[in-house]
Structures are given as structure tokens and as C-alpha cells.
Symmetry: C3
Subunit: 247 residues, 3 copies
């Protein structure tokens, strides 16, 4: 289990330094905002994994009718900070209007907080699944924004933005569905591999690998594109004075 | 006590679904933002009450010189998320300027967090009342915005907005004063009805009924009005380019 | 130790009332926003110190290989709320662009949250220092904004704004470096004065005195300047329609 944490600490530490280096010369305000949000993703992950590795945000939960399970509740807590940054970066990329970006982030935070509640609930197994259901309902709103709302916005941007968004959207939606699946099958849910040390390690590695894709690969793809400050992102949108860059 | 929680879970679950249904065709960005904020109110309440019902955000506090009291501290925690949404919806409705909206929400969060501190303080009864006093001071700033600042903004909107705001403002101010009164008289304050199981149930029902009015009735009144996207809300304000709608 | 807390409660209580009084007639929206943010600084500090004095946000941490240390973890928690207000006030004063203000506040919050993690970590002393290192890295980004980015913005404002910003920036950078130094030398770090009652009192007083400068003196200097609504702050910036005042 521990190796799944230290591996991520090293990866996210390198990523943070690399991304700061990539963004050192960026001047355009919109690109800079996306850069800052995206650099925050590995920085938050680094802190998240160190919180788990240092034992601070990890605990044993004694669930009625199930027994003791290792709860890495720090994951859910820090997703509350890191996943909004992912959505912020995507929303700024496609030039999302404010209400949609606000909705995506608000429901995303709701998803993470209720996921945290699921992880900490001990009174009954079915109550954990109710939290899982509430959290999943919030998640579907985020998926709706990613699959229906933002593709429309992306379509009126440059072709390069639209094709990058298509890639990042697919990566995000597919991998984000992986998290509830790992929860449902892993030690905190149905525990199909048991709840012992080995099962905890498998569950933890599954989350870590999802994070490699959904956070590290995501950020590399986005920042490699943005580092050159492509004209399709830096230029004002046709609607003029009220581009989302400016406030 | 438990019935006061499950009743609210059912009500807020129905409300969330109903409000999403009511808002399905809304196109105007300002109306959509208010809709999203308002839908968040029952969604957060649902999670809040399930947190209490599942025992996750409830505890027994052993107060020096008083004895053991059931503290439903999850209420104060989730008000930190839900009451700013109420103020956001009202502020957007009347076209509040940013500083005033920011102040209302900041002091509202201060009110909730210090209320949470009051609920958890065990060292002395008087210290709980100091928290109560600090929280009440924050509350008065919110009341000032509701009674003095926003009526002015509402007056320059359409007559329908002004009259709706008048109704919502009265509902909000009157019911919000009910919460500190319930706290002061209930099991966590003077405990005029004692601190036993019956008293806890009465206190809990009092809060739940206040929530029915301040959250459910509030949201129904607001969204019923907005569902038709009235011209007085959707049209740009006369001051032009910098209407609060747009960012 | 206790005296270092009650002294601050009295000071911050007086400051809050005084600042509200100073700001009673302010009309300009930009000046009002800075006023509200700045009034929030002593208000949050008041709650922070009362949280420590009431024993709510203070605890004894048993650190492996070190022994028991009094952890005033509430300080780090409330800095998460108060220090962004300081940066918000400074950023609005110099007319910072959004990405830079967002970055400063985001890294500042990261600094405080990882500082909180350092205070609560018990597993090993070196792990506490890793948190200290991560927190310090976040801090350096904030220092960069204060020393490199915002002076440029201040230079295009009026002379009075530029000279006030120069003073506040120096005050802030110098005193903010004091906090990690106190941490490193005090009871939670190297414990050069030991970890007993006396050492805890010295450490606590050191933080309190830093707070007097970084929060109280800072706010007095800023608000005394702003109370007259100087033209260099209230007037729109030359770039016109998109001044940071307006959203």
C-alpha cells in the first residue's frame, strides 16, 4: 500500500516542478490562469499523498456488520480541492459561461464531500451506499456538463482547442467513472478482493493509477498545448468585451 | 428526534428533483445561475440531514457544569454551505453589487463557523455564549444587508422583482431570527425544556420546521417566479456593460 | 500562554469595532470591498484566539521520538481564512489582474493547510519537516507575487498608492517570514527553548506579536489611508471598462 503512495509523491513532485518550468514565460492572462489552476493539480496531489503516507489522513473505520476497514479518507478530502481545478482549467479552455462553470464546480465539490461522508460512515453498510448514491447523482451533473454543455462551447473555439478538449473530455469522463467503480468493488464497498492488507494495497494502487491518468497525463496534455500560447486561446472571443478571461 | 431528520430527507430529496425539473428549460444565464444556487439549497440540506441521520455529524458533548448534551453539529457545518447559496440567490435577484454580496456571504460564513464553535465548546457554558454573541454580531451584518442595502437595489428593478424580494426578505429575516432563538432556548443553550431525549427531539423539530420555511418555501417561491424567465430579471440592467449577471 | 491569547482577543475586538466605525461612510465600491476584506482580518483573528482560549482548537500531540507538545492547531486553521483577506486587500489596492490574485490566494491557502498538517503530524519528526518544506515552497510563490508582480501593478497607480503598497509589502514580507522562523525554533520545531509550559508561552507570545504587526498594524495603515476614499483608488483605471473594481 505504502509504495502506491510514495510513487505518487515522487511523480507529483516532479510534475509540479516541471509544470512551473513550462509556465515560466507565459504572458497571456487567460493562459496563465489555466496554468496556475493546472499546476495546482499536482501540488494538491503531492500534499494529499504525503498526508496519506504520514498517516495523518488515514484511519481505521469499524463499520457495523462489516468490521474494520482502512479508510484513506484524505483522498476524498483533497479531491475537494484538486478536482475543481481540473474543471476550472477545462472550463476556461472552452470559454465556458459562468453559471455552467459554477454549477460544474459546485456539484463536483458536493460529490467529493459526500464521498468523504461515505468513507467515514460506520453506522450501517447501506448508509454508506446511500452516500455513494448521492455522490453519484452529483457526479452525473458534472458528466452532463462535460459531455453536453462544454462541447458546444468548444465547437465555437479554434479547431485545435476543440480537438484538445475532445481528448481531455474523454480522458476525464472515462477515468472519473473509474473512481466510483474502484470504490464499489474495493475495500470500502463490496470488497470483492477482501478487506485485508493485500486488498487495501490493490485498492490504493487502483486509485493511484487513476490519478496518474486523470491528473498527471491530463495536465501534461493540457500544458504542452498551452505552453506556446496558441492564438486560439489567447485571442479575445468574438463576443467581445466580456470574455471569461477577464474576471 | 430521528423522525425530524427523515422527514426532511424526504422533503429535500423531492425538492431537489422538482427544482431540477422546473429549471430544465431555462436559458438566460442570470436566471440559470440563480436556479443552480437555489437547487443547491435542498441538495445540501439533503446531505446535511442524512449526515445527522447516519450519525456521522452528531455527537454527545460533555459540557463542564452542564453535563452531556446531544450536539447536532452537522447542522452548523452544512449551513456554512447552504446559507451562502440563499444569499447568493437573493443578491443576484436584486442585482447586488459585488462588495455587498461578498460582505453578506463572508459574514454569513463567519456566523455559521462560530455557531459550529459554540456547539462544540465544552470548557464552560459562558464560553458557549461568547461564541453565540460573536455569531450574532456576524448575523446582524447579514440582516443589515437584507434590510437596508438590498431593498435599495431591488427598488431599481422591475416591480415584480421588488415585490418578490420584499416577500423573500421578510421570510428570511423572520425565520433566520428563529435559529438563534431555538439555540438559546433549546438543549444547547438555556435548555428550558431540559436536555433529555424529549427535549432533543423538540429542539431538532424546531430547527427542521425553520428549515422547511427558510429553505424549501423560500426556494419554491423564488423558482416558481423565475421558471418563466421574467423580462425584469433577464434583461440587462440600464447601467449596461457591467451588469452583475455577467461574471 | 493564556495571557497571549486574551490580550489578542481584546485587541482584535477593539480593532473590529474601530474599523467598522472608520468604514461607516465609505461609498466607493472598490474602497468598500477592501474595507470589508480588511475588517474581516481582526474579526477572523478574534474568533481564532477565542477558539484557542476556549480550548476548542488546541490539543496535545504525542509526536513519535519527541513526546507531547501543545499544538495550537487552530492558528493554522484560521490563517487559512485571514491571510487570503490580507492578500485580497493588497491585490485590490494595486489593481492586480485576476490570475495573479487567484494564484497568490491559492498558494497562500496551500501554505496554511500544509502548515496545519505539519502541526498535526505525529508519526515522525522528519515528516513534520517535510510538511514545513512543502508549506515554505507555497510561501515562496506568495513572496514572489508580493515582491515582483504587484510592485509593477502598484507603479502604474498613483504615487500615494505606490508608497503605501511599498510599506505594506515590506511589513508583510518581513513579518510573514517570522512565522516559519518561530515554528522552526519554537515548541513545534527544533524546540530551542524546550517544550514545557514556559516554552509554549514564549512561542505563543511570539506568534501573537507577529499577528499584532501583520494583522492589526497592517489593517490600521491600510484603512487610515482608505477612509478618505483617495482619488487614486476610487478612480477607474485608464484601461477602462475592465477595471478589477467591478467584479
Amino acid at each position: 500500500m505504502s509504495s502506491s503512495l510514495w510513487f505518487m509523491i515522487a511523480l507529483m513532485g516532479i510534475a509540479t516542478v516541471l509544470f512551473v518550468y513550462m509556465g515560466r514565460g507565459v504572458e497571456d492572462p487567460r493562459v496563465r490562469t489555466i496554468f496556475v489552476a493546472t499546476i495546482g493539480i499536482p501540488a494538491v496531489s503531492l500534499a494529499s499523498y504525503f498526508g496519506l503516507a504520514s498517516g495523518l489522513t488515514i484511519g481505521v473505520v469499524d463499520i457495523a456488520g462489516r468490521g474494520e476497514v482502512v479508510a484513506m479518507w484524505g483522498r476524498y478530502l483533497t479531491w475537494t480541492f484538486s478536482t475543481p481545478l481540473i474543471l476550472l482549467a477545462l472550463g476556461l479552455l472552452v470559454g465556458s459561461d459562468r453559471p455552467t462553470l459554477f454549477a460544474a464546480i459546485a456539484f463536483d465539490i458536493g460529490m467529493c464531500v459526500t464521498g468523504l461522508a461515505a468513507a467515514l460512515t460506520r453506522q450501517a453498510v447501506w448508509m454508506r451506499w446511500v452516500w455513494f448514491g448521492i455522490s453519484s447523482a452529483f457526479f452525473l451533473v458534472v458528466v452532463y456538463v462535460l459531455l453536453v454543455e462544454w462541447p458546444r462551447d468548444a465547437a465555437v473555439q479554434g479547431d485545435d482547442v476543440e480537438s484538445l478538449f475532445g481528448l481531455l473530455r474523454t480522458l476525464t469522463v472515462v477515468l472519473w467513472f473509474g473512481y466510483p467503480i474502484v470504490w464499489a468493488l474495493g475495500t470500502e464497498g463490496l470488497a470483492v478482493v477482501g478487506t485485508g492488507v493485500g486488498a487495501t494495497a490493490i485498492t490504493s494502487w487502483a486509485y493511484s493509477l487513476l490519478d496518474v491518468g486523470a491528473k498527471f497525463v491530463f495536465a501534461v496534455l493540457l500544458l504542452r498545448f498551452l505552453a506556446d500560447e496558441p492564438a486560439s486561446v489567447t485571442r479575445r472571443q468574438p463576443t467581445g468585451a466580456q470574455s471569461p478571461t477577464e474576471d
